[in-house]
Amino acid sequence: MLLEAAGLTFTYPGAGEPAVRGLDFGIAEGEVLGFLGPNGSGKTTTQKLLTRILHGYEGRVEVFGRDLATQGSAYHDRIGVCFELPNLYGKLTAEENLRFYGDFFEGPTEEVEAVLQRLDLPVGDRRLVGQYSKGMKMRLVLARSLLNRPRLWFLDEPTTGQDPEHAVLIRGLIRERAAAGTSVFLTTHDMAVADDLCDRVAFIVQGALVTVDAPRRLKLAHAGRRVRVEYRDGDATRTAELGIGDAAGRRALARLVADHEIETLHTLEPSLESVFLKLTGRGLH
């Protein structure tokens, strides 16, 4: 595992209850782990702990084979952090923002122009970032997090403020980086993004993990294993939903297929959101 957390617990100063408690999870090389939960569930706190913005946790976290608490400043040379807010220098151009930021890293950094192009941001633009749209600013924050070629990439709601075209672009970039071996810690409450991108998802509610598993396995495990059939009945089209988890349901489906002309037949998989709802007893919004 590139990152392994055991019993990770953190209480904010002055707070009675821990914000996160007893978290056990890991991220493998090239894996995309989604941290999903409603607002205030502990997603961002976990990310702040793992990026060393917050200190003083209990439990053990090992990253790159070393205890996180003993990591030096070189740790930040190896991670990338994309924030949920556009925390950029508004009085600088996009290129200036990236160049100045890139100068702080010790190792080789990406070509600024290439990163801008990859995220569909203008190269050679003399406009100040303060004049950019929210979507452009957020893509610039994402570009900035890539500059130092991170091995572990923290993304907080990376598609926030993006139109569908750019959301697709960002998803493609995340897939591309993961395929190249970058491990991704993705916090989101967008189940569609998580379902699309994540190798595994962790559901977190009120600071505790409910489950950590692959989205497909979660959906299958919590599916009612049902199908929806549209079939001809004389001149009319009728619809039936049948459970196929038992012999009676399968026999009913077989009879329907034998006796009628079938127009459509779909398995009814639950969405990740409905699995979340079922497991946690609450929604994401």
């Binding site: 990026t51 913005i53 070189a74 930040h76 924030f83 925390n87 950029l88 600088l92 100045f100 924050v141």
Partner: protein
């Protein structure tokens, strides 16, 4: 917080200075220094008799560049806070002391250059002007460090302004001894006193002897202490970023 276990890297410090100078130029800070310098030079040359200038210029150097350094460095801290750009730097290898030193050095460079320009414009550019560099640079460093300390203590800019006024007032007390209202030693314990008398010594063209050296040394000690204090306060504030909403 920013990692604190790494060495101070001059390369990162210089990168931070370049970054902050650019931001401050675009924000108009440098224009403020330039405008104040030109206006003050005009007023001093047109309104005061020449015999007063060797006394007036040191007082103005301290009053303008000391006070402006404190307020503008503080204002820069709030600018970063509003934009959230300080948080973005927390997840880079840059060290708090590198950042603090850059936050002080960027305006200090401008203040020093402006002070020398004012001095040269009013009293003329000659060999003594070079002597002005150490006390001016150290005064600007001290002022910037105090600006960071105050900004780190107060979440809101208005609270910072309210807190800064008494600081500036207390630090201005040496004017009383400088203009002979109180005995020379009355406020020797204040760093502004060392700055004021060092500027005065240069303005009057006194030979740089032991007393000038002592004044600069006193100023250097205060500046070093203030830099350290600012580093600690800034690091503490960065730690608090994570615990904010």
């Amino acid at each position: 917080m920013v990692s604190t276990d790494g060495p101070f890297r001059p390369r990162r410090f210089l990168s931070a200075v370049r970054l902050l100078l650019t931001v401050q130029r675009r924000t108009g800070f440098l224009h403020v220094y330039a405008g104040v310098t030109v206006l003050t030079a005009l007023v001093l040359r047109l309104a005061l008799p020449p015999s007063w200038l060797t006394w007036a210029v040191p007082a103005v150097l301290l009053g303008e560049y000391g006070t402006m350094g404190l307020f503008l460095t503080g204002a820069h801290c709030y600018l970063e806070r509003i934009e959230g750009s300080d948080v973005a730097l927390v997840v880079t290898p840059v060290q708090p002391l590198e950042l603090v030193a850059a936050m002080i050095a960027a305006p200090a460079l401008v203040a020093t250059a402006s002070g020398v320009a004012l001095f040269a414009a009013v009293l003329g550019l000659d060999a003594r002007t070079a002597l002005l560099l150490p006390p001016l640079g150290l005064t600007a460093t001290l002022a910037g460090a105090l600006g960071i300390v105050l900004a780190a203590r107060h979440a809101e800019f208005t609270r910072f302004l309210v807190a800064a006024v008494p600081v500036v007032t207390v630090f201005s007390l040496p004017y009383l001894s400088y203009f002979g209202v109180t005995p020379r030693w009355s406020f020797a314990w204040l760093p502004w006193d060392a700055a004021l008398f060092a500027f005065g010594s240069v303005a009057r063209g006194e030979a740089p002897g032991g007393s000038f050296g002592l004044l600069v040394a006193e100023l250097a000690v205060f500046a070093a202490l203030a830099l350290r204090w600012a580093g600690r306060r800034h690091a503490a504030r960065l730690r608090a970023i994570g615990t904010g909403p």
